[in-house]
């Protein structure tokens, strides 16, 4: 028995609950026979992948739902072996080049060419082209993006590319201009409420509106999270009554602990303690930007109004650095020290920044 979020995932464009306009456009695009390259972007849990899957089904019929996973090995020029997982059906192929880190260019070049140079074999296929879905497109390296440019034009007859990203800001302009941009915004609370209700009905229970409201608020636009929380709550208290507390995921509570540590004490020893906790989070695959965001939001909650803007400013400052730099912990720590310094200065009502 799958989790509800997977079990009740919409399978076709008609089943989608929100962004009806988007669904209609996708449907007409699929019908037109002149399907462009596309770039789906939006926050996680908004329904990008679901929409992509639905569009594919609209294009090719139920055949795309028969997927299998394949693993391919690529050789780098330095003879290093790269394993890449491919998810594919007869009509499409889905890759996550960022799995290979800096070598994503090789994957893009070799794999795309290979796919693009062969025509659709299945004569019964509805379309003459195949679709390549590139996940996490915003973490493609610049080289890989450059490698994508020409391929996208050259092999238009055999292949369409669907990029899936959280934000377009990291994609180079030439790529963006070659794609039809599809923004999948996070659902608003009404839409989320509808979906939650729908799932509850499918499962076979009534969802009290206040609980739904609580979940929607907690999920902050992440539909996946909302559904997972719903299921967890249902498991916790089957009748969804009484005082429900939404359990936070482990990493989030851990981040909050870190934030508390920062606010409680501002000493070198404490910085080192925080550093250890950061290491723990990072090594357990929590992305540094998520850590910074969660901790910063929590810290901001707990400090004086006057400090909030500064703290967020520095969080943004160091997040940018984190993206550019290579050792994330350095920037996280720099932010922590900065916050501690600001906090203490505020506490004593002194500003020492100009003083030496």
């Amino acid at each position: 028995m799958s989790l509800w979020v997977d079990q009740y995932r919409p399978r076709s464009l008609d089943d989608l609950h929100y962004h009806q306009g988007l669904s209609a456009r996708l449907r007409s695009l699929a019908a037109s026979g002149d399907f462009p390259h596309m770039l789906f972007y939006g926050p996680s849990g908004a329904g990008k992948k679901t929409r992509i899957a639905c569009t594919l089904k609209e294009l090719f019929g139920p055949g795309v739902e028969k997927i299998k996973i394949d693993q391919r090995i690529f050789l780098t020029p330095s003879k290093r072996k790269l394993e890449v997982n491919l998810v594919q059906s007869n009509f499409h192929i889905e890759i996550t080049p960022s799995e290979t880190g800096n070598y994503d260019r090789i994957v893009i070049q070799e794999l795309l060419k290979e796919i693009a140079q062969t025509q659709q074999v299945d004569l019964n296929a509805k379309q003459r082209f195949k679709v390549v879905i590139i996940n996490e497109a915003d973490s493609l390296s610049r080289d890989a993006q450059a490698a994508l440019r020409r391929t996208m034009e050259k092999y238009m007859s055999n292949m369409r590319i669907i990029l899936c990203a959280n934000s377009t800001s990291r994609l180079i302009a030439p790529i963006r201009s070659r794609c039809l941009l599809m923004r999948v915004a996070a659902p608003d609370s009404d839409a989320m409420g509808t979906v939650l209700d729908y799932v509850a009905r499918r499962v076979g229970f009534d969802l009290p509106p206040d609980v739904a409201g609580q979940i929607v608020e907690d999920a902050a636009g992440n539909m996946r999270k909302a559904l997972l929380v719903l299921e967890a709550l249902k498991m916790q208290s089957p009748d969804l009554s009484g005082n429900l507390s939404i359990a936070k995921p482990d990493w989030e509570t851990y981040c909050h602990k870190v934030a508390d540590l920062i606010v409680q004490e501002q000493t070198p020893a404490r910085v080192m303690e925080v550093r250890a906790k950061f290491y723990e989070l990072l090594s357990h695959c929590i992305p540094p930007t998520v850590i910074l965001k969660t901790v910063a939001e929590r810290v901001v909650e707990r400090v004086d109004e006057a400090l909030k803007a500064d703290i967020m400013h520095w969080a943004a400052f160091y997040e940018v650095r984190m993206r550019v730099g290579s050792k994330k912990i350095f920037h996280l720590e720099a932010w922590v020290v900065k916050v501690m310094s600001l906090y203490k200065q505020f506490f004593y009502g002194m500003d020492l920044t100009g003083f030496d």
């Binding site: 996680s44 509570t253 080192m272 357990h284 050792k327 720590e333 720099a334 004593y348 002194m350």
Partner: protein, 971 residues
């Protein structure tokens, strides 16, 4: 603390003479500029003069200061420049406040104050050396001693008042030299003052100073009169009251003015770095030791002296000098015993030393002569055959010929000799009797120690003297296992003795006068150099040692080397230490005397120390020097050492300790930015990590002078700057290691990632040991852990992909916490009963048992793997594993290496039966006609292939089975 106590005692003792001395000094021209500054402080009796100074000061001295700043490396320009604009206003205000206070203090400051203006000028003259050290020291003390409640107010109000005093004080020294008002200042101002002060008696000098800080302290301590200005004090501290390089080493009264004195330096001096000060002391013949003891003559006390040293000073009642007194001492003391020469005992000792040297030199000479004679008189001995002794390298020429000539390690050498002497007896007894050193149960000795301290020489000498003929094998000989086993004809008798006997007709002696015998001794030099080509050499060596009938001496540099492990149990370990400077000194002096070179003892000491007691190197250096000159003075020696400096790569730990330690960035440090960056390049990949790991562990020197909230704030501010600099460094690193590879940015990276952070937070603390000991960077371990878990997470994501649309981070952030109650929690809550349910859920998402482990491992906080696994009973775990392994599970895909290219290993063993089967099927058809022929042809074609042979044998009996299998395969 103890410093204070002493200071007080001394003050009592010193009280009266202050005024007199002041008078005496009145005639010194040097005092003038300082007197001006003092005028400002105390009163303004001659306003025009102040004006004068104010007018002319700003313009001329400025360039000079700038110049000195460059010299000194780092001077806080701000601190120096400020007073000039405030001069004309401040002095008067300050004067009004100061006067009553000065009267209050009951010691000789009063005398000075009371005196009429003309003498007062001179009285103050005594002050110049004081302020630099005094301000810094005393303010430090009282800040720590009493955190005044009014401090904040004081900071707010007081700034203009005390700022100039503290600041001016740094200037004084500098101004002293380029006096803008009075041009007739003596060329050597420092020396003359110093002399005048200390001529009367030598004791006065050391005593004079300690009292001064105390008066100063009193000044600062009187809250109603003068509120301490914290900002100013801090500024003074940060600017360094001490302009580095501001003081000159005075011209010494005599070359060896400090001879016979023993110094200990502690704390930070204001103008000289520790190394420089030590060098100065040594230059003038002083001895410098690390820890104070009762034999120490003087302690040169700087700021922030170590508490243990202060305790020792108190305990032994040692004399303390400030930096200036130390300089005065140099300027005034006239050689040993202050001009009276050495006392009887020392004199005798020195004479004896000299005599010894002469005697030793004579011995060498005599020996050389004899060698030359015998060389030319012997039958084969033409001078062309035996190299002329004059042309030999000094290291061979002056190699020790007798045991007593060996420098240092006497005990070890004696042991070695004893062992060799006892060898025949211990061989006879079968190595059962330990002997008095416990050495006689060993058949071999392992000598270890740094290079150039005479290990090989000692081994050879001992062997010769004990009547063995040494056979040496060193790294230039191949010493592989085979060669060691076979090639070493160690049981053969040496031909030496035979030849010598037959030729001369009487028993020959070697050059040391020891009879040559037919006994040999194997010296395996450079055992740790047995490497690459010498495979198995050490093992064979060890086997040889176990059964040898001749003594074996192994020599190596590093005792702990992994390679020498096998030898540890079979050999007696003798570790040679670096000989102490004194032992080497006499030997070197002997050689120098013999070569008619004039090299003073302290220069020799310097050479020895610079070469790290490597005697060979010192001799080589001298022999090189001899080519150009017969004398060597201190500076020449220094440059010689510098030239021959051994370049050692520091470990990252050492680099970190040096960088974050209290001295590298202190105001007296002489290291340039380049030198500091050089530290980073000792290990450019590790240093930044070490700095990042440890930069928070110090107690920064920069905040030492602060207190309470200010200290906390300043500390955090420094931390902030260091951390942001490290963050900058990472950006630079990304550019270096990114696709563009800007390696030219390495120096920038050095500054951002190491030098700059350290410059903010340097201080005591992050050393070896202690509560805040340096640690190895966690980053490396954490990073590889992150990579590993990331890979595992990728596996999990791929497996779940058939059901789940999320990417990796979504899986981690949303799914894992959601799955946790389904696949882990039941095992905790329900135990084995829940296993089925859990497995079902896992199958749903194609998760394997390994993936389950990953899910657990990825948990943090309350889901941390350790906590979770502890909560699951062992029985449940085993039940879970067993059940999981028992059943079949859906597999989303096969790993690439499971399919695709067949790995080599499988080709060799695994698929073989299949091929055979196929072959058998074919055989069945062909074999019917002629078995033998088929076999033969197969044999012919593949005569040399073992596989075929095996197959042939097998094929007949396998036929029946083969059929069955073939059918199975077909169906």
């Amino acid at each position: 603390m103890s410093g204070k106590v002493i200071a007080k005692d001394i003050r009592n003792f010193f009280g009266p003479p202050g005024g007199q001395k002041a008078k005496q000094r009145s005639s010194q021209p040097h005092n003038d500029p300082i007197e001006i500054s003092d005028d400002e402080k105390r009163s303004a009796p001659a306003p025009n003069r102040v004006e004068l100074r104010a007018n002319c000061l700003p313009s001329p001295p400025k360039p000079q200061r700038a110049h000195r700043t460059e010299e000194g490396g780092k001077t806080k320009a701000r601190g120096l420049l400020k007073p000039s604009d405030e001069d004309d206003i401040q002095p008067r205000r300050a004067s009004g406040i100061k006067r009553p206070k000065a009267i209050l203090s009951s010691d000789d400051d009063d005398d000075e104050e009371v005196k009429p203006p003309p003498t007062k000028k001179k009285a103050t003259a005594r002050a110049p050396p004081k302020p630099t050290t005094a301000t810094s020291k005393s303010s430090d003390d009282d800040e720590e001693a009493k955190p005044p409640p009014t401090k904040k107010k004081a900071t707010a109000r007081a700034p203009p008042k005390s700022m100039p005093t503290s600041k001016l004080s740094d200037d004084e020294d500098e101004e002293a030299k380029p006096p803008p008002t009075k041009k007739k200042a003596a060329p050597k101002p420092r020396k003359s003052t110093a002399k005048s002060k200390d001529t009367d008696d030598e004791k006065a000098a050391p005593v004079a100073k300690p009292f001064k800080p105390s008066t100063k302290r009193e000044d600062a301590d009187e809250p109603p009169k003068k509120k301490p200005n914290w900002y100013a004090m801090k500024a003074a501290k940060l600017a360094g009251p001490s302009a580095p390089g501001s003081k000159q080493v005075p011209e010494a009264a005599s070359e060896d003015c400090l001879a016979g004195l023993c110094f200990v330096f502690t704390g930070e001096l204001s103008s000289f770095s520790r190394d420089e000060a030590i060098e100065i002391a040594k230059r003038f013949g002083g001895r410098v030791v690390g820890q104070p003891s009762s034999k120490t003559d003087y302690i040169v006390l700087g700021d922030n002296a170590g508490p243990s040293k202060l305790a020792a000073i108190k305990k032994h009642g040692l004399k303390c000098l400030s930096e200036d007194e130390f300089l005065d001492l140099i300027a005034t003391r006239k050689g040993p015993g202050n001009g009276k020469g050495y006392d009887e005992k020392t004199k005798k000792k020195m004479e004896k030393e000299q005599a010894d040297i002469k005697k030793a030199a004579k011995e060498i000479e005599a020996r050389e002569k004899e060698a030359q004679k015998s060389g030319s008189s012997s039958k084969f001995g033409s001078s062309s055959n035996a190299p002329n002794i004059e042309h030999q390298l000094w290291t061979t020429r002056y190699a020790p010929q007798t045991i007593k000539e060996i420098c240092g390690n006497k005990g070890q050498v004696e042991k070695l000799q004893q062992w060799l002497t006892d060898w025949p007896a211990s061989l006879k007894s079968g190595f059962k009797k330990p002997g008095k050193n416990g050495m006689n149960i060993f058949r071999a000795v392992l000598i270890t120690g740094p290079p150039g301290i005479g290990k090989t020489t000692s081994a050879h000498l001992c062997a010769k003297l004990a009547g063995f003929t040494p056979i040496e094998l060193n790294a230039s000989d191949a010493r592989s296992k085979k060669l060691v086993e076979n090639g070493m004809n160690i049981n053969n008798k040496s031909l030496d003795g035979y030849l010598a006997n037959s030729v001369d007709g009487h028993s020959a002696t070697n050059s040391a006068g020891v009879a040559i015998t037919d006994r040999s001794c194997l010296i395996m030099d450079e055992v740790d150099g047995m490497s690459a080509g010498d495979r198995g050499g050490v093992g064979a060596m060890n086997a040889l040692i176990k059964k040898t009938k001749i003594p074996i001496i192994c020599i190596a540099n590093d005792k702990g080397a992994q390679k020498l492990k096998p030898l540890q149990h079979t050999t007696f370990s003798l570790s040679f230490r670096k000989p102490d400077a004194a032992a080497v000194r006499s030997r070197i002096l002997t050689i120098a005397y013999k070569e008619k070179m004039k090299v003073p003892a302290n220069v020799v000491d310097q050479l020895v120390q610079g070469a790290q007691s490597d005697i060979r190197q010192v001799i080589n250096m001298l022999s090189t020097w001899k080519r150009s000159s017969d004398t060597m003075d201190f500076d020449e020696g220094k440059s010689m050492v510098k030239m021959n400096e051994k370049y050692a790569i520091l470990t990252p730990f050492d680099v970190t300790q040096k960088m974050l330690g209290p001295y590298l960035f202190s105001h007296t440090a002489r290291e340039t930015l380049g030198d500091k960056m050089e530290l980073y390049f000792h290990d450019h990949s590790f240093t930044p990590l070490f700095i990042q790991e440890n930069y928070l562990k110090t107690q920064p020197a920069r905040v030492r002078s602060l207190q309470g909230p200010e200290q906390i704030l300043k500390h955090l501010d420094l931390m902030d700057r260091a951390a942001s600099s490290i963050s900058d460094g990472d950006l630079v690193d990304a550019l270096i290691h990114g696709p563009e590879q800007h390696w030219s940015l390495m120096p920038l990276h050095a500054v951002c990632s190491a030098v700059r952070p350290a410059s903010f937070l340097y201080g005591q603390g992050a050393g070896y040991g202690g509560p805040n000991a340096m640690s190895f960077p966690q980053w490396l371990g954490q990073n590889s852990k992150q990579n590993k878990l990331n890979r595992q997470l990728t596996d999990v994501q791929v497996r779940m992909r058939l059901k789940v649309s999320g990417d990796k981070s979504e899986i981690r952030q949303s799914y894992l916490p959601a799955l946790f109650p389904h696949i882990v929690r039941p095992l905790i809550d329900d135990g084995s009963a829940a296993v089925d349910e859990v497995i079902e859920r896992m199958d749903e998402y194609y998760l394997s048992k390994e993936d389950w482990d990953t899910v657990v491992e990825l948990g943090v906080d309350q889901n941390k793997d350790e906590l979770v696994l502890k909560k699951i009973p062992a029985a449940t775990k085993t039940a879970f594993t067993r059940k999981y392994n028992a059943a079949e599970h859906p597999i989303p895909f096969h790993k690439a290496f499971d399919l695709g290219k067949v790995p080599k290993k499988l080709a060799a063993s695994g698929p073989a039966p299949d091929i055979e089967d196929a072959f058998d099927l074919d055989d069945e058809v062909a074999e019917a006609s002629d078995d033998e022929k088929e076999d033969k042809s197969a044999d012919d074609i593949t005569k040399d292939k073992l596989v075929k042979v095996a197959k042939k044998k097998k094929s007949a009996p396998a036929n029946g089975g083969g059929k069955g299998r073939g059918k199975k395969a077909a169906s």
